[in-house]
């Protein structure tokens, strides 16, 4: 969407600001009202942090840093350790990134540099459609289509080839860390692709023209003039995808197996921070149990905020305004 040159840019705005003195009561009220609503965005961030900290204060006092490094999760004995969930979130997100990053960056390169013009828009629209599919529906598909196929075809095949490594060893259930990683990969493919595409599009054409003038082929132009120029932004897109992967809930909960354990094998069931909240929150019968789940929420909020801050900083330094709006 080309931004019209005569839009209310700061320079023009200062003229408008001078033309209109806030004289009436209406003007002042309206300005303060909109300011209050804009500040709601800031207030919401603090509201989340405050609610989570308040809800888990007792658990924090009781368990301290132990919470993050203990791997026992036994609500009956009131023993709570978040390590299996942190591990599950980290590994499933890592698997998702390993699958999704090469695919989506290559797709973004195809869409901005290599594809014939007429095919670009249809593919972009299809990627937007994939982004619009709710997580719970991907989970439904995961349970009834993907898991049976993985169990009977893909996993035995992987085991035959890579069975000698601990990663692809052990019994095959279908529901597993690997299945969780795959479904997260599907969820983050659209966002990494579309943000990467925006970044590649923001690379100045002068870059490409200079490389072409030196006699480079289309791929050489992409590699030398475009990808190396956009490195930082693409890293930002990946971190943004990581932020989404860490917080992905429904689809993962439906395929990961929900077993709080730490296993080297990707075929073994796991559990993530988000899924334990989704599964056990309404079952939390004791105060400590609920507090522990709030603390899990606090940990999840902390790491996703960190990932998102990093992503936004990386995306902003390349000087283009990228809005991953309406992308889940």
């Amino acid at each position: 969407m080309p931004v019209v040159a005569s839009s209310a840019k700061p320079a023009v705005r200062s003229i408008i600001d001078r033309m209109a003195r806030p004289s009436g009561v209406g003007d002042r009220v309206f300005k303060w009202l909109t300011l209050a609503m804009a500040l709601a965005v800031v207030a919401l961030v603090f509201l989340v942090g405050w609610q989570l900290a308040r809800g888990s204060s007792l658990a924090i006092q009781k368990f301290g840093f132990h919470f993050l490094e203990t791997s026992t999760w036994d609500p009956v004995a009131e023993q709570f350790g978040a390590l299996p969930f942190i591990y599950g979130t980290a590994i499933s997100s890592l698997v998702a990134l390993i699958i999704a990053v090469p695919l989506s960056i290559a797709a973004a390169v195809y869409l901005t540099e290599l594809a014939p013009i007429w095919i670009r828009q249809p593919i972009v629209s299809l990627i937007e459609m994939l982004a619009a599919i709710p997580s719970v529906i991907l989970g439904l598909w995961g349970i009834f289509v993907m898991i049976p196929w993985l169990r009977t075809h893909a996993f035995p095949f992987l085991k035959k080839i890579f069975g000698w490594t601990p990663l692809f060893d052990g019994p095959i259930y279908g529901v597993s860390m690997l299945a969780g990683g795959i479904i997260i990969a599907v969820m983050i493919l659209p966002i990494i692709t579309s943000v990467s595409r925006e970044i590649l599009r923001s690379v100045p054409n002068l870059q490409r023209e200079a490389a072409y003038a030196l006699g480079a082929t289309r791929w050489e132009v992409t590699r030398i003039a475009v990808l190396s120029y956009a490195k930082k932004g693409l890293f930002g897109a990946v971190v943004l995808g990581l932020g989404r992967a860490l917080g992905e809930t429904m689809a993962v909960t439906m395929v990961i197996g929900n077993t709080p354990q730490i296993r080297a094998s990707l075929f073994a069931p796991g559990y993530t921070l988000a899924s334990v909240i989704a599964n056990e929150f309404t079952e939390a019968t004791t105060d400590v149990y609920l507090q522990a789940l709030f603390e899990i929420g606090l940990v999840l909020f902390g790491i996703t905020i960190f990932a998102n801050l990093l992503a936004q900083l990386l995306l902003r330094t390349i000087g283009s305004t990228i809005t991953p709006r309406a992308v889940q």
């Binding site: 300005k31 989340v48 869409l111 659209p190 909020f301 992503a311």
Partner: protein, 281 residues
């Protein structure tokens, strides 16, 4: 001779890269094709009239529908809009019309960070805020959770569409002695009204499929909701609880519900596309 050989090799490499990138692009959209294929195959056969008009039947009784969940979803979206639209639109107005460059940078930054908060977290926050306080799961709680998710989405898109309104419109109106706030409401927002509607619809389409924030706010309900301070059903919640159930009949209904939900979301997106096309023209 040798140099042309090398040139051919470089050309081949370029062609190979194009093919690989094309295959990757296909792999990115492959899940969409697979999901839609199974949705239609398993969902279409399970959809019938009673799916839209009847309540869920007890376990073991075949038939029944998701009428309450469909209506519940719309009720929740209405409640979410009550929170998300005024806050988001007016926040967007501030960013586009009043904010200073530095302040806007910070606010946009916060909005984008807020947008990355996992949706399940909103469920936990609203649980602490509303459900614990009033000691009951409720439609209000569910609507508030969805509304919070809408805020950053609506704010950012509203700002974008307001910035598309030419500055001349504002100057002309102010030159006629019309006050600033009336200029914004009657000239700027009026001109961008289609864009603002687009912003709202996009946000609604996004939250319509959310399940995680509703799990312990709206909670779900197998009957009609007659009171918004009581638990309410929603299409995504119903799909989830049927999908993880052990009953074949419920699985079929989950597919049917999923098909209905996807069609709803795609229709919303279609309306958005139609509106933006008109605006661009």
């Amino acid at each position: 001779m040798k140099s042309s050989h090398k040139h051919l090799w470089r050309k081949t490499k370029s062609a190979c890269a194009a093919v690989i990138a094309f295959v990757c692009a296909l792999l990115v959209i492959a899940p969409l094709a697979l999901v839609l294929f199974h949705l239609i195959r398993s969902g279409a056969s399970a959809i019938n009239w009673s799916f839209f008009t009847e309540l869920p039947k007890p376990v073991g009784v075949a038939g029944g529908g998701m009428a309450n969940a469909i209506v519940g979803s719309f009720q929740l979206l209405g409640l979410a809009a009550l929170v998300g639209v005024p806050v988001g639109v007016l926040g967007g107005v501030y960013l586009a019309e009043y904010g200073t460059a530095r302040g806007n940078f910070a606010l946009r930054f916060m909005a984008d960070v807020l947008n990355g908060v996992p949706s399940i977290i909103w469920g936990v926050v609203v649980y602490g805020l509303i459900v614990l306080r009033f000691k009951s799961f409720s439609a209000y709680a569910g609507g508030l959770a969805l509304g919070f998710i809408m805020v950053p989405l609506v704010t950012r898109t509203t700002e974008e569409v307001l910035l598309l309104v030419p500055a001349g419109y504002r100057e002309a109106s102010l030159a006629l002695g019309i006050s600033r706030w009336k200029t914004i409401v009657h000239i700027v927002m009026k001109t961008a009204s289609k864009g603002i509607v687009t912003a709202i619809l996009l946000a609604l389409a996004r939250v319509a499929g959310e399940t995680a924030p509703l799990l312990f706010t709206a909670f779900g309900n197998r009957f009609w909701n007659h009171n918004l301070s009581e638990p309410i059903s929603a299409l995504p919640l119903q799909i989830f609880s049927y999908a993880i159930s052990p009953y074949d009949d419920w699985h079929r209904q989950a597919w049917a519900g999923a098909l209905v939900l996807v069609v709803m979301i795609f229709l919303l997106n279609l309306v958005v596309r139609f509106l933006t096309r008109e605006r661009m023209a």
